[in-house]
């Protein structure tokens, strides 16, 4: 793939040297009370030439985990400019967040609803601020060549069925292999769906440190599942033909491809070097005691975005409709019926592998073509539909040795 002329495109150069595939204005609210106003500001630019996404944290609490996610989003290379909107009495400080964005060389503004005199005034002020940020982006954004080796791609699965482990996740795994071979970065997650695969995972560790981190993440999850007698597998999974958690795990793990795993990222950590990484979004053991359920798909996608993914794969079997704020989502299914039924939502079907009409390598090459098109600016189905979900939860996870935010 190196030397392939289609593997380069024009990216948006950021001050820290990273490159984005979108140039978004991110409107960020700092408490649920400010969410309506922020969403009104954002939606007023729907279907305009100004690309605005809205994200925010609902809690009125000091949650370091959520703060780290917010900061990771400000720093994300797909984000060109930032507007924070707060109520005025919450913990999260919109002014400080805007300052971080400015330190990153990104145009940024902040406002508090209590200071601005309520809903209508803040919405108007916010719209003005977004237009000004957009003007500044138009004037100042530097475009540069971007290559596949600079790309970070994430993958997760949701609404899986029997085709996911046979085809959907497999084609994404194959693409991850190609991406890593080209010097790029791939991130997969869902350690809860690795139960039963400890030796297989550890056998894929790139080095001793990665081996230790993978083992620790695995043991944490297995201890938790044992203690609550609940694994990440549901009645619907069983009814669909899955018999054990090991079987479901192997199907999910297929999306990691075959390359060595460089290590384990925690939420909001970006990969320190290219290659394949596992993202562990599960809370620290003590806090899992409060009750832990699987991350929903939007949370899983947001976790991947916060690790710097430019682009995301969401692999489905039964069908799913979500997209993500900040990074485009390419939705892949191995189920041809689902693809026909939900063709307005799904981007790619790998079902032809099931009967051998196409090989996995052919399908992975086609999918890579779609990835490059999305990097060149072509909108994914979710983007066309304005699906820009986000999910920033209260959670507790130590920062680990790699995260010094």
């Amino acid at each position: 793939m190196s030397g392939n002329p289609i593997s380069a495109w024009r990216g948006y150069l950021r001050q820290n040297g990273s490159k984005g595939i979108r140039n978004k204005i991110l409107v960020m609210y700092t408490v649920e009370c400010a969410s309506f106003v922020a969403k009104e500001i954002g939606s007023s630019f729907r279907n305009s030439e100004i690309d605005v996404d809205v994200v925010g944290f609902a809690g009125c609490t000091d949650n370091e985990y959520a703060l780290r996610m917010m900061i990771a989003l400000l720093r994300h290379p797909n984000v060109g400019a930032v507007l924070t909107v707060g109520l005025g009495c919450e913990y999260l400080q919109g002014r400080k967040l805007a300052e971080i964005a400015r330190q990153e060389g990104k145009p940024a503004d902040w406002m508090l609803i209590q200071d601005r005199g309520g809903t209508l005034n803040t919405i108007e002020a916010g719209k003005d601020a977004v237009r000004k940020l957009h003007d500044q982006l138009q004037r100042e954004t530097v475009m540069t060549e971007m290559n596949i080796h600079e790309l970070i791609v994430g993958a997760e699965c949701g609404g899986s069925d029997y085709t996911s482990g046979l085809s959907g996740n497999v084609v994404v795994g194959r693409l991850f292999d190609k991406l890593v071979e080209a010097g790029g970065t791939a991130i997969f997650e869902e350690i809860v769906e690795a139960i039963g695969l400890k030796e297989i995972m550890l056998g894929r560790a790139a080095n001793e440190s990665a081996r230790a981190d993978l083992g620790a993440a695995y043991d944490k999850m297995l201890d938790y599942c044992k203690s609550v007698r609940q694994y990440s597998v549901s009645p619907g999974n069983f009814a669909g033909g899955l018999t054990t958690i090991e079987e479901k795990s192997m199907g999910a793990f297929a999306k990691s491809g075959t390359k060595p795993i460089e290590g384990v990222l925690r939420v909001s950590q970006t990969p320190p070097n290219p290659g394949l990484w596992l993202l562990d979004s599960t809370p620290d053991p003590y806090f899992m005691g409060f009750g832990y359920t699987n991350p929903n798909d939007s949370e899983g996608l947001m976790d991947l975005v916060c690790s710097g993914c430019h682009l995301l794969f969401l692999v489905t079997g039964r069908g799913t409709v979500v997209g993500s704020a900040v990074s485009p989502v390419i939705k892949v299914t191995g189920n041809e019926n689902t693809f026909r039924r939900m063709s307005g939502d799904l981007d790619f079907c790998s079902g032809a592998a099931l009967t051998g009409e196409k090989t996995m390598d052919e399908l992975a090459a086609e999918l890579l073509g779609l990835v490059v098109q999305a990097c060149q600016g072509q909108l994914t189905k979710a983007e066309l539909l304005n699906h820009k979900e986000y999910f920033i939860p209260y959670k507790y996870q130590s920062t680990g040795k790699n995260c010094e935010v």
Binding site: L166, L222, Y231, A239, T243, T355
Partner: protein, 113 residues
Amino acid sequence: MNDKFHQASFQIHPDDNVCVSLSDLEPGSVSVHGSPQNARIELLQQVKQGHKMANRRITEGEPVIKYGVAIGIATRDIAAGEWVHLHNCKSAYDMRSSTLDVDSGAPTDVEYR
């Protein structure tokens, strides 16, 4: 269901002792796509889409192999061409898996009252 999936199954890894049905299958001859051991299986019973069938005899206590790895343990002898699911295969980790209702997958150890 698309015709090309009629009486068709998929074997992921050459070492697997189970295949996955690509449509609701009737007893009789079934083709095997993917990485088959044998190009056809003689199916002994109905198997729903997405479920597994043994492509050879699996004895009690032997691992059930899919993706080339053990995904469970046979809890009784399983004949070639037999449906493989909760009634004859259990997880090595999730002790509740072999207690679930074989059709719905719902737990049988939870009382609704």
